[in-house]
Structures are given as C-alpha cells and as structure tokens.
Amino acid sequence: MGKLLLTRLASLVPLLFLVAVFVFFLITLMPVDPVRQIAGEGASPEQLEALRTELGYDRALPVQLLSWLGNAVQGDLGTSLFTQRGVVESVLERLPVTAQLVGGAMLIALLIGLPAGVYSALRAGSLADRAMTALASLGLAMPGFWLALLLVLMFAVWLGWFPVIGYTPFGDDPVQWARGLVLPCLALGVSSAAVIARQTRSAMRDVLQSNYVQALRATGTPRRRIVYGYALRNAMVPVLTVIGWELTVLLAVSFVIERVFGIAGTGTLLIDAVVRNDIPMVQGGVVLIACIVVVINLSVDVGYGLLNPKVRPQ
C-alpha cells in the first residue's frame, strides 16, 4: 500500500508542474493585455507602463515563467492586487469552510445515494426502482443553487428551522455551526446523491449478474450475506471513481452555493477576484485548486487500491 501511495505521489509532481506552466501560458498567451485588464478602462499609457513594471509583466516571457515557477515551488503563488496578501495564505484561510461544505455534501450524497442505489438494484423493475430512477434524473437536472433558494425559502424563511445566511465557526457555537451547514450541504449534495445512486444501482445490477454471485448461491449463502458481504464491495469499485469526480464537482459548485448562503469561503474569494480583475489571485487560486483536485484524485486512487487488490503493486 505504501508503495502505491509513493508511486502515485511521485507522478503528481510533473502533473502539478505542468498545471503551473499551463496556467502561466493561459494568462500570458491570451490575446488580451493582463495589465490593461487590471488597470481598467480609464488608465493612461503611463499608468499602464508603471503598473506593468510593478507587476513584472515587462520582463521577458522566460524570465516571467521561471520566476513564477520558482516562486510556486517555494509555496508563493503571487499576491492579491487588492488585499496585498499572499494568494496561498488567502485561499488556505478560506479552505476549511469550503472543505466543510464539500465534506458535508458528500456525506449527505453517500447517505442518500448508496442505500438508494442498492435498494433499487435489488428491486429492479419495481415501482420503487422506477421512482428512484426518475428522482435521480431530476436530481441531476436540478441546479444546486436553485434548490438552495427553495430550501432557504422553505426551511429558513418560513419555518425558521435554520439560519437564512451565514456561517458560524464550530468553536463559537457547535449547534449554530451545524444548523448553518445543513441547508448548504443538502443543496450541494443532492445532485451528487443522484449520480452516486445511479452508479451504485448499475454497478450492483452488474455484480448481481456475475458468476461468483451464482457460485455463492450454489454454496447456500443467503441473499443478504451475498449482497452485503460480497456484492457491495465489488460494486463499490466503479462507484468510488464516481465519488472522486463528484468531489471535484462539489468543490466547484460549492462556490455558487456559498453565494446563496452568504458564506465567505474559497468561492467568494475567487469570485470577488474575478469581478475585480485580480488576475494574480485568480491565477494562483486556479493552480491551488488544481493541486487540491489532484490530491483528491490521488486519494481516490489509493482507495481504489484498498478496494481492488488487482491494482495494488505486487
């Protein structure tokens, strides 16, 4: 297992390096002058030049690239033009809130998706199965931020069960913290629940048709034992891949959900940066989030190795 982790970790380095290079060229090779974007419409040519020198965009491209990469290696992905704080520092500060949203949403998605998928597979063709499939299609099509609006209206504005907006740190008030996270996580998690339910259902159906299920039945193993002792773990192998993708999707969609609930997470930080043309912030933020995605993928690979002995290095 350690070997798998090490080889996977080693393969991350070149990928992350290439991501940093890619983002650099994405910014510099666009047919737009980043300095003009930053300065805004009204800037005079002198102001532009001054800003260009200040931000280092007047240097030769290879120099810019080397300096960007050199700083990146040391954990410096630039400085926000507005707050004058380091990008890494700013993002890391907001990340715990985002992580709680994503984690909570995934928890909800798993708690709904896995049992629904298994149940549906065991009763293929039944009314419950059809209803689950229809609900899953609906869950996939429904934008999370719309669901969020409806949930707020229903459970926060009318019923008053949950706060309408805001995030309370756990340290301040654990109860308030939990209440504040319920609706955002639910709104975020529903579409992932639909994806996971669909995937679980189809994986489980495939597995239940497999020869080893018949072989187990031929030794008199009861159904429940076959389903929960054998089939489920086999079915989890493809589901895990989907869970990995969904974590990435949740990370991105949480940026939008934050907006509905007025939670100041990574998304708010980045959207503000986009609105203000804070290009260094966006640039650094993209690389940092890409790092997180890559780490998520790595964890999924490791989990894959735990589930499926075939991919473990011998």
Binding site: V23, D129, T219, V253, V286, P309
Partner: protein, 686 residues
C-alpha cells in the same frame, strides 16, 4: 456499425459505407420514434427552440417593460406567471431567457464539436508524439474544475456570456477529443481502415469519411448531455453575475434577482428554476434515448422492459443465466420472435430407460421441464421432460451441443433457474427429498451440504476483491458452524486435498493470483466444503488448457472415492465423458435422446445424434483424417421441429420421423434405432 466494407475491385468502399451508414441512421431514427419519452423531449425542446429563435412570437410582453404598480404580482391575469421586482412580465422574461440559454448551449457544444472531433481524429489516427503531447495537455486541463477554468477566462477576457461559454466550450472540446480518440483507436484496427489505405484514400477522407461515422454514436449521446450541462453552467455563471450582462435575460440571472425578493414573492424563484431543470432534464433524457437507440444490440444487460416488466422481480430469483453454455442463437434468454411451443408430450412411461441399474439412486429427476416467458404468447420450454437417475458414487455425464438445455437442467436441480425462467413441471428428488417445491430459503440449506456446484470459468466464480479464504470459509462457517479459526484450518486442508500447494499461505491470495487450473481447484474445494452428496460440474474443464484439464479431472475422481459422492458432469467434450463417466445421457433440443453406460455408448451408439457426436470427436487412431462435423445447428427452443427434433439434421431420417413426437424407450429416442444400429455395426455411415 463496424461492418467491414468488402473491397470489390474498382468498387468504392466509401460509397458502400455511406449506404450502410445511412441505413444505420434510418434504423436509429426508427428506434427513436418508438421511444415515447424521447418524442416528448423532442417536442418540449422544439417549443424551447422556437422561443430561442423567435422569442417575440411567444412572449406576450416586452421583457424589459417596467410596470411598477404591478411589481411582484402573483401568477394570473395579464401576467401569466406574475411579475418581478420591477413589474416585468415573468413569462416573457422566461421566453427571452430561453433564447440566451439555448444559444449558449448550442454555441458552446457546436464549437466544442468542431474543435474536439478533428483533434480526436487526428491524434487517434496518427498516434505517436502528437497523441502523447495532446493527451498530457488534456490531463492538465482535467485537473482544473470547469467552473474555475471559466473564472480564469472571464478574469482575463472580461465578464460576458461569450467569454464564459468559451471556457466551457474548451472543456467540452477536450472531452469530445478524448471520446473521439478512444473510438478511433478501436476503429483503426478494423479491416475497413486497411482496405481504405490499400485503395489509397486520402488521410482526410479516411478520417472524416470512413472512421468518423463509426465513432459518432457516443459523441451524439455526449453532445446531448453537454447541451444540458452547458445550460447549467450558463445559469450558474449568470447567477454569479459573471455571465449575461444588462440588456439580456437569463434564467440564472432571474434567479439571482429572485434571491433578493423571494421573501416578498415566494413564487419568483420557482419558474426560472423549473425552466432550467426541465430543459436540462430533457437534454439528459434525449441523451439516454439516443444511447438506447444507438446501442449495438438494442439495450445491453438486463434492461427495464424485459425482465422487469413492472413486476417486482427480485434479483435472487433471476440468478445468473450466463455461466453455462456460451451464448448462442439458441440461448433461452434471447427473446424469440415466435412463441415457444411447449410441446406437450407424454412423460416417458418405461422406467427402465433411466434407472441406474442396481445401484441405489441418489438423485431422481422425472419429467423435468424448465420454461421461460416468451413475449405475450406464453412460455418457451427449454428443458422438455427430462428424466434420469444418478446412483450413489456414480459419475453421470450429460452431453450435447451448446444450447441443448444441459445447463438449465443442472440449474433446475439446484433451484437456480434464472428468473424469469421457472421449473414448469416434473420432480427432482435428492436422497428421497423432493426439491422442486422448496423455497429459495429452504434450498439454501440444500445447496452446500447436499448439492455442490462447480463452473466453467473458475476465475469468474470467485469474488475478485476478496481473498479466496472468504468464499472458501463461507459454507464452512454457515453450514457447519465452524469458528473463524477452525474454518480457516479446514479450508487449508481442503485446498491441500484438491492439490493447491502451500495451501495455508494461499488462503489470503486473491483470485487473480491463481492460474485457471488452481482457481478451479479453489472452486472445487469451496463446493466440497460441506461434503455434498451430489456435485454438479458444469463444463469444469472447458476453460482450462489440456494438461490442466486432466489434472482437474483426476482431482474430481479422487474426491469421488474419498467422499463417496456422486458427480453430474455436464460437458460437450466426449473425451471427458470417456475418461471419467460411468453413465451418460445425451441431450438434444431440451430432451434426452439416449442414455447408456459409457462403454456401451462409445462402442454401440444407438441414436444417430450420438453417432454423429462420436464421429465429430478427434480420435487418436485416425490421425490426419478430416474431422466430420454435424451439418446444421441445434434449433432454438422457439423453433423445435415437429416429430423427432434431430430429424432435419439426421441422415437416417424418413418421413415418419417428422410426423409425431418420438418417445424415449429403453434409453433411446429414435424410431429407426434398430436399423441405425444395424447399419452402424456393419460400418455403414451415412
């Protein structure tokens, strides 16, 4: 869809491919037209499309017309869906929003197709350096969430829908390129590609004219789904204020406005959300419909309609019908067009035909019938009145070509006929106990302690993600109540017994670490764990190579002596029968056509089918001769001929053979068996 195009001298394979292609697409359209859900989607999308093309026609009001006295009105009256915070007509805004949404989706997906497909074709067809570099680039972009990528592009190019959708389009293009490349890598190996090269078609014609139509199916499905995703992104970005700017209406932007005023007018956020959800849903359902219609053999797997059909079909009653004979045209799972004729025949009257001759019978099968539902027209019988006995310690062979009902017979004995199939008649008695009426739960106490089974593909019979210990100790713990440690000890003994070296250590290995022969020993050990009285071995050596086959057979023979069990050996390999069986039944088209002790069957076959099977078996005495084969194929259960079922393929058949069903008399189901025997003994083969 991969029909290799025959290269006629001077002919144009491209033209032939085009014709085949258009026929293919017509067929797909026909299938789509028979999907009511897809038709509904298309109807809905047509309406939304109309709104997108000519919103002015559908909208009763100017979407920007401010009417402050009527602000935040509810649905009804002049404003069908009410008004927003400035009194603007919601319905008209929805219609104009459709224009933005549909345009954004189609533009981004079209651009992505235009970029992604050529790139995918190019790197897939040329491969090499281009392929590696592009795939690396694709990996990089895949690490950046799409929304974030859009953020970066918007930060650079400025806010606005076009810029936002450009970013989405790039991500889609990468996905299309990946899908196309995957398809091309498969198609590149197809003969028609070589044929085109030989004919000197230009690279461009090869890629776009020949390969592209063959890889188009998944692209069409994905395009439909991406249309929905693009729409979601448009709504999301406009909701964040990064998409449409003032002067345009977007559903996402309407939701952003509604967010502020929903406390005053709770219906405000409902309609734009419904519009988004419904449209995305329709694109997704259209994608599902296209996938079904483009599927190469209808819908793969056990689809809804077929085994579900609204009933509460539970998987355990379905079982796995695939482990037995390789799927052929006569596989009972294939739903035939015609109804099966459950030919009613009198049960064979004469007991002498199937008894074990002096030995006490362990298993008594009488007039066993297995049937599958066949459309609206009732049942299709696949096992048709089979009767035989297996004596204590006897090895009984059941032989016949694929699709003649051998596996279904064995599954019926173990109570494992796959749903929707069922035992439609007859009895199965094991050591005096009737098994056919038992519930699945009761059968769970029979399978394991009384009946064990081994299968054709040993590696598939073991759960791939568990160490073999788990499956091996399962029956020991369940039926014998052994503790974990005791079960492990016993499992190691069993593995040792069946000849797995280093048994104790191998318990913790996974199935993929075993060779086929070793895996079959593990499966045998599992089946023998509770020392069953009867072992059903369904083609236990077919998937193994020849040297391993005899080792596995030796193991079985040895175990039979050790455990004093009976073995029912299902095979199409007469060599195996000759090696191990005591007595044999030959099956053809759901019936037993001959039973005999093994020596008698090999020396004096009585049924023409048996004789043909024997002649079609390689014989060491006559090397070099061309092996004769039996002309024709086993008829499928929905087209069993009247009278003797072998008669259409039989070289001895006379008119009487086709007139009425032939009974099994003294272990032979043939009207002319006397004449046949005379001719065969005189060395006359027809």
């Amino acid at each position: 869809m991969t029909d290799p195009v025959a290269v006629a001298p001077g002919g144009a394979p491209a033209a032939a491919a085009d014709r085949a292609g258009s026929r293919q697409w017509r067929m797909v359209l026909g299938r789509l037209a028979r999907q009511p859900v897809t038709l509904c989607c298309l109807l809905y999308l047509a309406v939304v499309g109309l709104a997108a093309v000519a919103p002015g026609w559908l909208a009763p009001h100017d979407p920007w017309e401010v009417d402050l006295p009527n602000r935040l009105a509810g649905p009804g009256g002049e404003h069908w869906l009410g008004t927003d915070e400035l009194g603007r007509d919601q319905f008209s805004r929805l219609v104009f929003g459709a224009q933005v949404a549909i345009r954004a989706s189609f533009q981004s997906v079209t651009l992505a197709l235009l970029v992604g497909i050529p790139v995918g074709l190019f790197i897939g067809y040329l491969g090499g350096w281009w392929d590696r570099v592009t795939m690396r680039l694709i990996d990089i972009v895949a690490a950046i969430p799409t929304l974030l990528f859009a953020f970066a592009i918007i930060a650079l190019l400025g806010r606005g829908l076009t810029n936002a959708m450009l970013a989405i389009s790039m991500v889609f293009a990468i996905n299309f390129a990946r899908i196309t490349r995957g398809g091309v890598l498969v198609e590149r190996e197809q003969p028609y590609v070589d044929a085109g090269r030989v004919l000197g078609l230009s690279r461009r014609r090869m890629m776009f004219g020949q390969i592209l139509p063959n890889v188009a199916a998944p692209l069409v499905v994905q395009a439909s789904i991406f249309l929905g995703i693009a729409l979601l992104f448009e709504a999301m970005l406009s909701f964040l204020g990064l998409g449409v700017q003032t002067g345009q209406v977007s559903w996402g932007q309407m939701l952003d406005d509604a967010r502020v005023f929903s406390a005053e007018q709770p219906l405000l956020p409902v309609f734009p959300g419904v519009a988004i959800t419904l449209t995305v849903l329709m694109f997704n359902l259209l994608g599902d419909g296209l996938r079904d219609a483009l599927g190469r053999q209808g819908s793969a797997g056990p689809p809804w309609g077929r085994d579900g059909r609204g009933s509460r079909t539970r998987w355990w009653r379905r079982g796995a019908g695939r482990s037995g004979e390789p799927a052929g045209p006569s596989e009972p799972d294939d739903d035939g067009d015609q109804a099966g004729r459950a030919q009613a025949e009198p049960a064979d009257q004469r007991v002498g035909a199937w008894t074990t001759g002096g030995v006490r019978s362990l298993l008594e099968v009488r007039d066993l019938r297995v049937a599958f539902p066949a459309g609206s027209q009732g049942l299709m019988t696949v096992v048709d009145g089979v009767s035989f006995d297996i004596g204590d310690g006897e090895i009984f062979g059941l032989v016949g070509e694929s699709g003649c009902g051998k596996t279904q017979t064995s599954l019926a004995i173990a109570g494992l006929v796959p749903v929707p199939g069922q035992i439609s008649g007859g009895t199965v008695r094991l050591a005096g106990r009737e098994l056919t009426g038992l519930s699945d739960r009761e059968m769970e106490t029979v399978r394991g302690p009384d009946v064990g089974m081994i299968f054709q593909d040993p590696l598939a019979a073991l759960s791939p993600v568990h160490p073999v210990r788990r499956q091996l100790t399962e029956p020991l713990r369940r039926h014998l109540g052994l503790s974990r440690a005791a079960a492990a000890d016993r499992a190691a003994e069993l593995l040792d017994l069946v000849g797995v070296p280093d048994a104790r250590r191998r318990l913790d290995d996974y199935p993929f670490q075993f060779s086929g022969g070793m895996a079959q020993r593990v499966v045998i050990a599992t089946a023998l764990a509770c020392e069953p009285k009867l072992l059903i071995a369904d083609e236990p050596t077919t998937a193994l190579d020849v040297t391993i086959q005899s080792q596995v057979l030796d193991v079985l023979l040895d175990l039979r002596d050790r455990f004093e069990m009976s073995i029912m050996m299902i095979t199409h390999d007469l060599g195996v029968v000759a090696d191990v069986c005591d007595r044999v039944a030959v099956m053809y088209a759901g019936q037993i056509v001959e039973t005999a002790p093994v020596e008698q069957l090999f020396t004096t076959p009585r049924h023409p089918y048996t004789a043909d099977l024997l002649r079609a078996t390689p014989h060491p005495d006559q090397p070099g001769d061309r092996l004769p084969s039996i002309p024709g194929t086993v008829p499928s259960p929905d087209s069993w001929p009247a009278g003797c079922r072998f008669q259409p393929r039989c070289s001895y058949a006379v008119e009487a053979c086709g007139e009425q069903a032939v009974p099994l008399v003294d272990g032979i189901r043939c009207l002319r068996h006397q004449d046949v025997a005379d001719m065969l003994s005189a060395g006359v083969y027809r």
